[in-house]
Amino acid sequence: MSPYAGPVQDLIDELGRLPGIGPKSAQRIAFHLLKLPTPDAQRLATAITEAKARVAFCQRCFNVCEGELCDICADPRRDGNLLCVVEEARDLVAVEKTGEFKGRYHVLQGAISPIEGIGPEQLRIKELLVRLDPEGVQEVIVCTNPNIEGEATAMYLARLLDPLGCRVTRLASGLPVGGDLEYADELTLGRAIEGRRTLDAS
């Protein structure tokens, strides 16, 4: 038996299904929403409905967008030789913020994780393969997360793309800029040592 009346429990259940929200947080948010003035609650509801109705995924790179193509795919100034592969649209935003990358993106919408039932078929990998030739991609930069699942996905992509004659690179792991060596955790520092570069003496 649910402790709350029908609609309240429905709201708690729905909120509890969101990522990162447990039963207690769901309950707290639900009661917060119930206390809100009606127009405020309406605005949230409208924002969700609108976003759901108007935002879709870019048909080429699977970034979030309004319309068929996202702004980046529609931008002719972007360098078609370079393709940056990320797990989620929010990773794309992170790379984009650097201002360093002028190529295009491809969002996999996840990483290989058998525990969560995610295999290559559940990811936008086929869609990645069909882009390579028509867009004349020379280099694929694999920007998946440096964790177990992200590394496995990167290795999978490397094995898939290598025979196609496409250069595949992986984002380096290392030290945060502006930080102090003494505060770096051992694993990151160890990786940074592995990935050291020769200094240009000229």
């Binding site: 290989i112 058998p114 525990i115 295999g119 290559p120 078929e121 177990i148 590394e151 094995r159 898939l160």
Partner: protein, 380 residues
């Protein structure tokens, strides 16, 4: 690392206790059920943020109380060190080192180290391979905290690979094959690294175990400690290929560091099945003392050695041998009964129903006069 003082609040059966530790040997005397082991458990908690008895933190808090606090003051590399842990029934536990709150429990690794010997250690010799792997990996992490990352990575990769094996339904479709290749490569890379680290450790551990055993047994003994997984000959990648059909059928990974064993033998015979109870107990203690020695060597300073009820495990001759060969450094030892001849603790404490007092048991209850330890023996 030396502990000087320890405070307990609502930890197990101690409502409030404070004790000073000798820089050498401190002996805690008490009948069973009075709280001897709880003291060692409190010290070990500060090093490992868990109980060596494998219980949940809830069990560490005194009945009816919301939280327990363990605080230790000591010295490491000539600097004072204060480690404090608050164990809460509800909410997160908190740890502070020198009043600084730790962000990640990983940051604690190495701040304080302990080597624990408890009667349960007999299972390392008598029990299944998993317990010997745990012994090996715990020693590895204690000597080189960074290697914990490797152990955790291996666990995660195995969980993913096993999930994939189960989903395949026993059939190797093309899709499964390609993905499995990736997990195999990840597993092989991580597994080889962990096995190499274990093998390097065993190379140092083996002579130390043999020497410790001989010192305790006082007879020449042929003790061998070997870590030689068959797959290391051909490599884990190749072994995974060979085992793939079997893995698919069973839905688990049949080969790798998670299935290895540490082979223990006395006089050429497997210690698990062929050794006497006395030999097994001696070997269990020798394994712990050897690990303590290797970690001391690797880390540059001795962990605090915690010996729980160690004399009940040994015959009088071996008790005396242990006393003679007790490693240098700080040791905290508990006993329910008589102290063996020749022991010279720097400090003796008696625990009774969760209260501590200095000196041996006064009434002679359980300890007879002849073995009454004198404080004066061991210095200040």
């Amino acid at each position: 690392m030396r502990l000087q003082r320890l405070w307990l609040t609502d930890f197990r059966n101690f409502a409030s206790a404070e004790l000073e530790l000798d820089e050498g040997l401190t002996v805690v005397i008490g009948r069973n059920g009075q709280g001897k082991t709880n003291l060692l458990e409190a010290v070990a908690y500060l090093a490992e943020l868990g109980s060596f008895r494998g219980v949940s933190t809830d069990d560490l808090v005194r009945a009816g109380m919301p939280s327990a606090v363990v605080r230790a003051e000591g010295e490491r590399d000539g600097r004072s060190l204060l480690v404090e842990a608050e164990i809460n029934r509800v909410g997160r536990n908190r740890v502070m080192v020198n009043r600084q709150r730790l962000q990640r429990s990983r940051d604690l690794l190495g701040a304080m180290r302990v080597s624990v010997f408890a009667p349960d250690d007999l299972a390392v010799v008598k029990g299944g391979p998993g317990l010997r792997r745990d012994y090996l990996d715990a020693t590895l992490v204690s000597a080189r905290p960074r290697l914990d990352e490797l152990r955790l990575a291996l666990e995660k990769i195995l969980r993913q690979r096993n999930a994939l094996l189960r989903q395949s339904g026993g059939r190797l479709s093309d899709d499964v094959a390609v993905t499995l290749d990736v997990w195999d490569a990840r597993l092989a890379e991580t597994g080889e690294k962990l096995a190499a680290a274990r093998a390097a450790l065993v190379e140092r551990l083996a002579p130390a175990v043999a020497a410790a055993y001989e010192r305790l047994a006082e007879v020449p003994s042929e003790v061998s400690v070997r870590y030689e997984p068959w797959w290391r000959q051909e490599g884990l990648a190749a072994a995974l290929v060979v085992g793939r059909d079997e893995d698919l059928r069973r839905g688990v990974t049949g080969v790798g560091p998670h299935r290895d064993d540490l082979e223990l033998a006395i006089g050429g015979m497997p210690a698990r099945s062929q050794a006497s109870q006395g030999e097994q107990r001696t070997l269990a203690l020798a394994l712990r003392l050897a690990a303590h020695e290797v970690v001391t060597d690797e880390a540059g300073s001795a962990p605090v050695l915690l010996l729980d009820d160690v004399f009940s495990e040994l015959d009088p001759a071996r008790q005396a041998a242990l006393v003679r060969w007790l490693p240098e450094g700080q040791t905290l030892l508990t006993t329910a009964g008589d102290l063996p001849a020749g022991i010279a603790p720097g400090r003796v404490l008696t625990v009774e129903a969760g209260t501590l007092r200095p000196g041996g048991p006064g009434g002679g209850d359980g300890v007879d006069g002849g073995a009454e330890p004198a404080d004066a023996d061991g210095g200040p």
